[in-house]
């Protein structure tokens, strides 16, 4: 591979990893847009590369989350029983689909992502209900200096949504944090901090379940994987250690508008109106 291309992917990876960690976006969507729109890589190969980036960033962030005991491993496992089959199914579906279908689905996912980023995360109104399965949990809130206890509401809806999130993740190559966090936070009423940490765990496993399918089909470009993975790792490191997580409403609205713009571009590409 040319040196310039290597450098370009590496630098964008650092940017996407850092921005992803700051915005809680994970970086998968940004890498995917970069590979398809800037580098014009065929969508199936772009999805495979993006999945690898997602695994790298989630594993980087995960080592911090797990250590801080925010992750609810029981809840993660219960939801994984549906997400993982979805992720495998999604990857197989994607590999039989023409590229422009995937681009159209991606465009729709971008609209959804824009809506989510316009909407503010629900803050801690915790409902304690009967916890028959034992998937509630607790964590220590550093800011409030208290232990927060919570339980999981509407498990069936959560499981079904998790299955869909898995399929979407396998088809368009995002880990699906942007779907999983709202499922846990809005539907199952898990506090946002526990949702984010638990989603991070699930995202890594979901992306890996899809990635292994692309990998064994030889769709993953190994040469490009190097700057892709290294860039994301460095970026995620910078993002999680050096930059503060931001909740700025202006930034979220800006991000939403950017996502809407790229959704429009992706629809044009899917429709064949955009060729270069």
């Amino acid at each position: 591979m040319e040196f310039m291309l290597f450098l370009l992917i590496l630098l964008f990876g650092i940017f996407a990893g850092a921005l992803g960690a700051t915005l809680g976006l994970g970086g998968g969507i940004l890498m995917l847009l970069f590979f398809t729109l800037a580098l014009n890589i065929p969508i199936h190969r772009a999805v495979a590369l993006s999945l690898l980036a997602v695994i790298a960033s989630s594993s980087m962030a995960g080592s911090v989350y797990v250590r801080d005991k925010m992750t609810n491993i029981r809840l993660a496992m219960v939801l994984e029983t549906c997400t993982v089959p979805g992720a495998v199914l999604g990857a197989f579906l994607a590999l039989t689909m023409p590229g422009r279908y995937i681009e159209a689905i991606l465009a729709a996912v971008l609209i959804y992502a824009a809506i989510i980023s316009f909407r503010q995360a629900k803050s801690e109104k915790i409902i304690l209900c009967e916890d028959r399965l034992g998937i509630g949990g607790e964590y220590y809130d550093e800011a409030k200096k208290t232990t927060v206890r919570y339980s999981a509401d509407r498990l069936k809806t959560g499981l079904f949504a998790s299955f869909l999130a898995g399929i979407v993740s396998g088809v368009v190559g995002i880990g699906g944090g942007i779907i999983k966090v709202p499922i846990m936070n809005f539907i199952m009423k898990i506090p946002i901090k526990a949702s984010a940490a638990t989603s991070n765990f699930m995202v890594g496993v979901t992306a890996a379940a899809s990635a292994v399918v692309y990998f064994s089909k030889g769709v993953l470009d190994l040469q490009m994987s190097v700057p892709n993975v290294l860039g994301i790792m460095v970026g995620a490191y910078i993002g999680t250690r050096l930059l503060a997580q931001t909740q700025s409403p202006y930034l979220r609205i800006l991000l939403g508008l950017v996502l809407l713009f790229f959704s429009f571009v992706m629809f044009l590409k899917a429709g064949g109106a955009l060729v270069w």
Partner: protein, 83 residues
């Protein structure tokens, strides 16, 4: 005794670091090493699930042990399926 969280945290760090080193080495050593580096990265989250299973087993939490085994089973089937 080392807690489950600390162990998983280290597994993630070692997996990421090992795959980064292997990928960098692969640039000069060639495709098989690159392939190995990518594989290590993909297997890192799988290991996380594996350790979760171990954690539930050690705590005699059989219901969640079985749930985790089911997830591992799907992961393995997904890796081996051909169409």
């Amino acid at each position: 005794m080392v807690s489950a969280e600390t162990t998983i945290s280290w597994v993630l760090r070692i997996g990421v670091l090992l795959s980064a080193i292997t990928l960098i080495a692969g640039v000069s050593l060639g495709e098989p090493i690159l392939w190995l580096g990518a594989l290590i990265l993909i297997l890192t989250p799988f290991l996380r699930v594996f350790f979760a299973a171990l954690y539930f087993l050690l705590h005699k939490d059989m219901r969640f042990f079985v749930i985790t085994l089911y997830v591992i089973l799907i992961l393995v089937i997904g890796s081996l399926l051909k169409f």
